[in-house]
């Protein structure tokens, strides 16, 4: 499985995903049949995210990340008011 990280790349074509009902994977449309032909690639056992699975993170304040707004977090773009008030 190849991860696709998109950062600072202009002209990028967005993401596309096809989701197929498992029980119908062998009897559906063209997209289905073409995809289901390789559906046996997985082992079925799965891989555990384990230690990298979500755990309490650092740097968060009341559930909002440093990207979010709120006191101490908001850096307004030019032309926008600095104080958005209480939310």
């Amino acid at each position: 499985m190849k991860q696709d990280f998109i950062r600072g790349v202009d002209g990028l074509v967005g993401d596309e995903l096809t989701l197929i009902k498992r029980n119908n994977a062998t009897s559906s449309s063209n997209a289905t049949s073409s995809s289901s032909s390789s559906s046996g690639s997985g082992s079925g056992s799965g891989s555990t995210a384990g230690s990298s699975a979500p755990t309490p993170g650092a740097g968060y304040e009341h559930g909002f990340g440093p990207h979010a707004w709120g006191p101490g977090h908001y850096t307004p773009p030019k032309g926008f008011p600095k104080n958005l008030g209480q939310w």
Binding site: Q3, I6, G14, D15, L19, G44, G46, S47
Partner: protein, 231 residues
């Protein structure tokens, strides 16, 4: 929002049918245990003072954290919450012959490479119910970017449902499709990942583009998702 029509609560939690899909909207901010990150009493009294009591009206006002529905028991028990009880009933009533697809959505994600403890609380409240109900996908926002996870359930990547990088199989009871669809455009601009590495649960991450997504239910077996729309 059809809260009353579906037995939900105003615009906080509700459901509706559209075409081949049943959509369930959940309140990821309030009305589940430790929503979104810790109990009401701690919001009011501070860390280390989480007294096991139901929130009062005053506390609700102060914290701006609900609850907006009833809590029929202890606040730390997800099953006590009206929203959780409603979700179970709603999913049980889905007529799959009319809406073979079931989509859940809420503001906060359950999984992301931008890890935070609220994700665990959202998972604890809803994930097992959604999996048991055969929900196909969970869409969220909160983080201002686009992120598609590998099929995942109970913090385990379901590799058996990965056909290729752009094709997944559903796997009711085991995994769902999770997408953080938070790149609509905000004056705060995009989120940027604060971790040094992107987790293996993430298949696609776009921290650059604004846009929206389009979902198409072609029939009872095939759904496609296109995002973001490029301009």
């Amino acid at each position: 929002m059809p809260g009353a029509e579906t037995g939900g609560r105003s615009n906080f939690w509700y459901s509706f049918d559209y075409g081949l899909a049943h959509f369930v909207a959940l309140d990821g901010e309030t009305d589940f245990a430790y929503s979104p990150e810790w109990p009401f009493a701690r919001d009011v009294n501070g860390e280390g003072t989480e007294v096991p009591e139901l929130p009062t009206e005053r506390q609700t006002f102060v914290t701006d954290s609900g609850p907006f529905g009833a809590i029929n028991g202890n606040w730390s028990d997800n099953n006590a919450y009206e929203q959780v009880q409603w979700l179970k009933k709603d999913l049980a009533a889905v007529d799959r012959t009319k809406t073979p697809w079931v989509i859940a959505m809420s503001h906060r994600p359950m999984y992301s490479s931008e890890v935070s403890s609220y994700q665990r609380n959202v998972r604890n409240a809803f994930e097992s119910i959604l999996l048991a109900g055969g929900v196909d996908a969970y869409f969220s926002g909160h983080i201002h970017w686009y992120e598609r996870m590998w099929p995942i359930g109970r913090s385990t990547i379901d590799t058996s449902s990965v056909v290729d990088n752009t094709t997944y199989l559903t796997n009711p009871g085991t995994s769902m499709l999770h997408i953080v669809n938070g790149m609509a455009g905000n004056i705060e601009s995009h989120s940027t990942i604060s971790n040094s590495s992107i987790l293996n649960i993430t298949a696609v991450l776009d921290q650059r583009h604004y846009g929206f997504s389009k979902i198409t239910f072609h029939n009872e077996s095939v759904m496609t998702w296109v995002s973001p729309s490029q301009t």
